[in-house]
Symmetry: D2
Subunit: 425 residues, 4 copies
Amino acid sequence: MSTRRDLDSITPLYSAARTQLDSRGIDLESVRAKLNTQAIEVPSWGFSRGGTRFGRYVDGSEARNVREKIEDAGLVFALTGVTPAVSLHFPWDGSREDEYKRIPGYLKEAGIGVGAINSNTFTPRAEPLDHRLRYGSLTNPDPAVRLASVEHNLDCIRIMRLVGSKTLKVWLPDGTNYPGELSFCDQSDYLEECLEEIYSQLRDDEVLLIEYKLFEPAFYSTAVADWGRALTLAQRLGDRAKVLIDLGHHAHGVNVEQIVANLARLGRLGGFDFNDRKSADDDLAVSSIDSYQIFLIYNALVEGELRGHLDLSRLSFLIDQSSHRKNPIEEVIESAAALQRAYAQALVVDRKRLADAQRKHDLVAADRILKQAFFEVPVHAVIQMNRHERGLPLDPIDAFREGGYEAERRSRRAADRPAVGESLF
Amino acid sequence: MSTRRDLDSITPLYSAARTQLDSRGIDLESVRAKLNTQAIEVPSWGFSRGGTRFGRYVDGSEARNVREKIEDAGLVFALTGVTPAVSLHFPWDGSREDEYKRIPGYLKEAGIGVGAINSNTFTPRAEPLDHRLRYGSLTNPDPAVRLASVEHNLDCIRIMRLVGSKTLKVWLPDGTNYPGELSFCDQSDYLEECLEEIYSQLRDDEVLLIEYKLFEPAFYSTAVADWGRALTLAQRLGDRAKVLIDLGHHAHGVNVEQIVANLARLGRLGGFDFNDRKSADDDLAVSSIDSYQIFLIYNALVEGELRGHLDLSRLSFLIDQSSHRKNPIEEVIESAAALQRAYAQALVVDRKRLADAQRKHDLVAADRILKQAFFEVPVHAVIQMNRHERGLPLDPIDAFREGGYEAERRSRRAADRPAVGESLF
Amino acid sequence: MSTRRDLDSITPLYSAARTQLDSRGIDLESVRAKLNTQAIEVPSWGFSRGGTRFGRYVDGSEARNVREKIEDAGLVFALTGVTPAVSLHFPWDGSREDEYKRIPGYLKEAGIGVGAINSNTFTPRAEPLDHRLRYGSLTNPDPAVRLASVEHNLDCIRIMRLVGSKTLKVWLPDGTNYPGELSFCDQSDYLEECLEEIYSQLRDDEVLLIEYKLFEPAFYSTAVADWGRALTLAQRLGDRAKVLIDLGHHAHGVNVEQIVANLARLGRLGGFDFNDRKSADDDLAVSSIDSYQIFLIYNALVEGELRGHLDLSRLSFLIDQSSHRKNPIEEVIESAAALQRAYAQALVVDRKRLADAQRKHDLVAADRILKQAFFEVPVHAVIQMNRHERGLPLDPIDAFREGGYEAERRSRRAADRPAVGESLF
Amino acid sequence: MSTRRDLDSITPLYSAARTQLDSRGIDLESVRAKLNTQAIEVPSWGFSRGGTRFGRYVDGSEARNVREKIEDAGLVFALTGVTPAVSLHFPWDGSREDEYKRIPGYLKEAGIGVGAINSNTFTPRAEPLDHRLRYGSLTNPDPAVRLASVEHNLDCIRIMRLVGSKTLKVWLPDGTNYPGELSFCDQSDYLEECLEEIYSQLRDDEVLLIEYKLFEPAFYSTAVADWGRALTLAQRLGDRAKVLIDLGHHAHGVNVEQIVANLARLGRLGGFDFNDRKSADDDLAVSSIDSYQIFLIYNALVEGELRGHLDLSRLSFLIDQSSHRKNPIEEVIESAAALQRAYAQALVVDRKRLADAQRKHDLVAADRILKQAFFEVPVHAVIQMNRHERGLPLDPIDAFREGGYEAERRSRRAADRPAVGESLF
């Protein structure tokens, strides 16, 4: 794939990038070295088809089970070189001991590592949680449901150890649809009690990530609705509890990059679920709607690392999107590439001149410095040069398409899953 | 149920209401007469369980099919006296000629009339629409999918005539998730062409209602995203095309009652899907979150009728909510009662003094006049008196609970539908 | 004003309230006693005219200076009996020692106490802050501006002691309009350093309230943008730092009553700036737009006190609104009355049955219990009975109008302030 | 300024742009030609300082009057070559006949043409409108205020003819702050009657642009709140009434580029007020917050022209921003450059491949085609080459700074306007 013709087309832009960075005293080689350390997790669930409450559509090529999801994750890693781990989700990825035990073999087969383990108390299941789970899990007024929900999380901790993960990620569906449905005091009491029980089972080298979300599936209130609530929970639990930011989980107008900086500074930034959105928690591909925001987030991360507030290599970076309309493998590759671009843009910001402009109230200069990094440095050529030198395809989407992977998967997987829609109703 | 004790408790409040209204020159008897003409449609689909994209939970008492949905609608009418018609949704309520033909019998059995017929091009179905429907129905770039989607709407027109409805309601799932997915020009061209074909099949006494929605299931753009777009479509089609307002289909901060007034004034207000929301299109029970807004909407309707802009008896008033956590029958009753309250409050506004305050820029007086109607006139006693005189239960929720209807339904219906959750994934 | 005829009209409703509460085991007398302890602060600045960035209009009757503002506050207290203190704002209410010293005399003259002291670093002033204040106060990259801003706050502490206040309230205009304008790390470093200096000067019986706001006057980022940021600042400072909630300072869709409950539970709820909004930080009269929300907030407060999370008598309750179009005195009275109504409604919630409904997942019952308190108990009659027994006018707005206060003020005050508009441009 | 060294640095990128476009069959020369026809109006009011309702700050260099505003507009045109006209605003730019008459001389002096004339009924003025204007202008319940507001617009038409403009732009502050303040029916009746009177005075070659806005300065309702309302007004008036889009006048989540396409298709797109925003109507510099959106808007415009829906040369493109913190001249230059970039990016979209991807439901390809135009074609080099060949400075901001224009203006203008803040309160 990485042909001479491709290289020819990027060489002038690569040279131009070098010239620009040289003139600003930025060392292209260390930018390239940092880019080569970037590591993003891919979601096992991202390789099935997403949908909305109105239904979803499968075309037969999607992964049907955890083995196939891990297989797809391995392919993305082989094509991009930037996604060395897959994050798992239970019970979606298994609900029995024998299922858990087969996962390490699948990972080895696919040549990929494991990322965070996601517990899930929102997918309906059979007894003993039954339909009472509709009223919440860790905040359910029924103690039996809370107990079962805690036990599911403890199961996930056991799975972590089985598969080699050090990170438990908790996103709760809990909340209320109506005023008066539950006392906010009880909601918090139940939640803290349950989380304490879960956290107490973690070992010293294990981390709990708490994810917040403004709304959905609950509409009137959400138990962990914002970073403030997630932070106070983390503070209560202990040092190994951190906050996880999903880009789509905020109200419109909220400045996410500022939250990134604040959490980093407080030592409580745990990681990201990356995606994009126009409307609500759309779970669209990274950078598809607000390309500047993801750059500004990486800008905050790069600055945070320079200031000693965080260590990028210890954060959990996950792509978390829902592929309704795009081939899931292609969409994960697309988002991984967008994250490479955003990181590269952040790395070529002229920080010395930026700090100077900030000191002088020179907002016009500050904007230009950011825009030069965003628009004018041809970072795509830099990324492609890195790919070339690592023997990766210059364009992983093209490589996926030319490799015939989708057709092969469809022919193999569609047997028991015809290409039709599935209705929620 | 309407016992002497109950009446005793409402009599003093009823008298107080009369005193207040008398002092403002408002005739209680004509208020009561208008309240007795209020007619709200209930949704057949509202008697099954709603859910979110994360799953849904059934408890076994829910209606399993169109016959049972109509049965439940009949019960709500019997208990409330205010919901004489049920709105149907296809293919949810049937997809074959023989299924359609049985509906009039079910309606007769249940003692209820029929309301609007809703076409549905968002529920995945088998060929020929198959998974290409994920890219839109009437705006799909594939002409075969557009054709099939038009034909479904023509089917619905045939159903209308079979069951005695005069109203076709079109809410489209169409839209895009990504910039560039579709040209907005093509989107509009396709849409208008298809709607013209559908509209051309309607008879002179039949009406097309066009519903708009800001987002969901599409996130980046929606083909009919706001009242402006729905209106321009209606203008293009003809006089019998009107706009339908779903309260949950707006951006935050949008003034819905103003849209009501504007559409009425333009002769294009077709009706409502009533519900409430805190976050997005939550489909919560009417008046559960913003009780003042629903009053203000009825206030605009009452004024619109007085000004000759509309005829309340010709609008389509539908409860459209999704009962995740409440018994669907109870929640429909709850919303019907909320709509009675809002209409009653609007009817007791002292319009003469209000107009006077408006002329004088007396905003403080204007607010007080609205708040007196909203908070101080005990309209619940007036509504109960009406129920009493019509031989209806004073409290229809109590009547439902005391009547043992839920348990009876569960024992009859749960046989083939155990009380567990259903996952979308 | 409190004539026999008025009493006659409320007596039947008052009796009905008693009957309803008796039947639920709620003691009307203790409800009335609690209502009589309610105490709300009024804002000195609320007695001038508000405006928007497009201009503002005065009519000549408005208070022109701190003495007249305090005079107006005294009148509101005399008419309502529920607003025993006035909150002051500097430098609006003075910028020189001799001005501060006259304030206790004005308070005595007006028969009103003092509430919180508000520092203000957003109103442009002369050197040494000059136009550099446009880039922030406590977060300004220029150390001279930060220092001057700290000193202004220390001045306010001195004023507190002069006038007898125990509360310093800090709302910051600080934020940025553009990405890159300031590093979020510097923003936080500067802010914390400055607040620590201010807090360190407070005595043990003095309290610092930190107010947050999503946006305005800065648009891209705000230094203290949400309750989470205000809370982490308070945690850093110490126990006497608390968070203040302004109802209009949130994104759409945020659940404010949940934040109330959370902050109370964490021991960090300091008080409120009460107002209402449809669009952004509109500063409209309390309960004018979302009457149900203010009830739900009081509901959380009443429950919080029952649970021991807070002591209502120690919170700072302030009306903070901007009277563009209503007479400021009338609008403050209107809001005070709305807060009485909301508190009364919260006090008559049947908490025993509500807790029972919550335990049983009976959401329909929970909603009805709240709605009975909100719509069906005639609390306005209870409030009027209290007023009657305390010798207050039954209707303070009527009393204001009948007393000729506005005309008297206009004739006295308009001399040097003709009734024209003032443009910002 | 356009030195050899500068050219050397852009030449490789310019060549790379040519190579990329050649490979896609896009003719660089016609792209460059189109870019050279781009014409943007600058706002006279944009050369003074903006502020918020909390105050504003001047530094002395700002234009003090219409002559200086036009002088500054001329400078921007000289430096950028892309802004050949200045838009005027009355009464800000004059309120007497003799003032109007001097404007043509100022324009000639500054070497700039005139754009649209903006009427203004929101800035407070003396009798006869006086403070009653606070309750609205064309929708004021007081007929005298409506009449005066109509007359102001007729004055503006006279000014148009005096100064050579063909466009009247009406943005109304009208709206209500409270439910009940005004009947929506009256609001619409008054508005239409007044606009008809104004429109009737326009000649056949004159155009009326109607601007909408979600909120501010009114908060509860706005008379012309969205494109739907502006459109129905334009429809009522006639063919020469069009809709104007200000980017900051929408609710969050609204798809503005779709509105652009819809209005163009309906023949009712009149033009733009360009700016950007994070929070509300922030009036920030173009592309400073959402750089992708402005590209998508230009993308819709370029497609609209190709489809024959509009003629770019006949639209009104105006920069409308409020410079709180940046030098106004610099900020206008910054926004003009951002609009050049967005147009250039839209012109290099590979539309043939895009249409093909849309037909095939290939969303991944569609996204890549847009992103290539946005990120990968070095359009800044193309724009600079155009500037070079037209003898313009390669970087107009640098040219402004190096030219000493700000210092010269401050020394000349600050005499009667010291560098201090001005408070609204």
